[in-house]
């Protein structure tokens, strides 16, 4: 017996929710970034499941592009975080409030 499409979609939603919880709760920029990656991967899981159950290639190709963009995004984001750390000596979001006032 194979799992249904709904099972994959619910797992994807749960993973997305866990990532979102991390973004809301954590205060460390790097951990927040990891949780963002988690949300991205949860979305790709839903796409692959749709593609498989629809019998087409398009979702898989789309996930290929998402993975490529995610790799570029991680490189740029981590470079920004390192630059931020060099300028402010911290990566805790509650101390990075220059734009607030």
């Amino acid at each position: 017996m194979t799992p249904h499409l709904e099972a994959y979609l619910m797992l994807s939603a749960a993973l997305f929710a866990v990532g979102f919880l991390g973004v809301l709760v954590r205060r460390n920029t790097l951990v927040i970034y990891m949780c963002l990656e988690l949300m991205l991967v949860a979305a790709t899981l839903a796409l692959v499941a749709f593609s498989r159950f629809n019998g087409t290639e398009d979702g898989d190709v789309f996930v290929f592009f998402i993975l490529t963009v995610a790799a570029a995004e991680v490189a740029v984001g981590l470079a920004i975080i390192v630059a931020l750390f060099r300028a402010r000596q911290t990566v805790q979001v509650d101390q990075l409030n220059s734009l607030k006032h």
């Binding site: 099972a7 993973l15 951990v31 991967v41 190709v61 790799a71």
Partner: protein, 170 residues
């Protein structure tokens, strides 16, 4: 059997995802992310997307998590305690949870997804078909993606250069 593998993999993935969120040490979080990605790659294999599982392991587990670990160790940071959520955070969390529960409810109860059995005989496994799609229908996105990677590379170089310059006069 397949159901059992799915249940095991999904529980493993969810536990590791919670580990990313809840672990106090950022290095432990990155390790949990690695395991979580391995679980998702297993789910991809179960969905017959073998190439994507391979790429996920190669790009995410190999490169991205290694980069995360490298930065965590470079910055030598503490994980930071999960702070008490304040007013706006609680409201946002409640709204997000309500939206998610509504969506899952719509999907599970009212949504009627046709053809719950997987269609196509392991379409995703055909590498030839996959690359044919990539280089015919999706040729323009492939080229745009290559350009994007070039821009990202240049951006990272510029970012790490610019921040070094103001420190020189000191």
């Amino acid at each position: 059997m397949e159901q059992f593998a799915f249940t095991t993999l999904s529980v493993f993935t969810l536990v590791c995802a919670l580990g990313v969120v809840l672990s106090k040490n950022a290095v432990n979080g990155a390790m949990c992310l690695l395991l979580c990605l391995a679980g998702i790659a297993g789910l991809f294999v179960q969905l017959h997307a073998y190439l994507l599982a391979f790429i996920l392991i190669l790009v995410y587990a190999g490169a991205v998590v290694a980069l995360f670990l490298f930065i965590v160790m470079l910055l030598d940071m503490q994980g930071g305690q999960p702070s008490r959520p304040r007013g706006a955070g609680i409201v946002a969390g409640v709204i997000a949870a309500a939206l998610l529960i509504t969506g899952v409810d719509l999907l599970a109860v009212r949504g009627r997804l046709p053809d719950t059995a997987p269609l196509g005989h392991s379409v995703g496994s055909s590498l030839k078909l996959y690359s044919y799609e990539l280089f015919t229908t999706y040729l323009l996105p492939v080229q745009v993606m290559g350009f994007l990677l070039l821009i990202a590379m240049l951006g990272v170089i510029v970012l790490s250069r610019r921040m070094a310059e103001p420190e020189d006069p000191r």
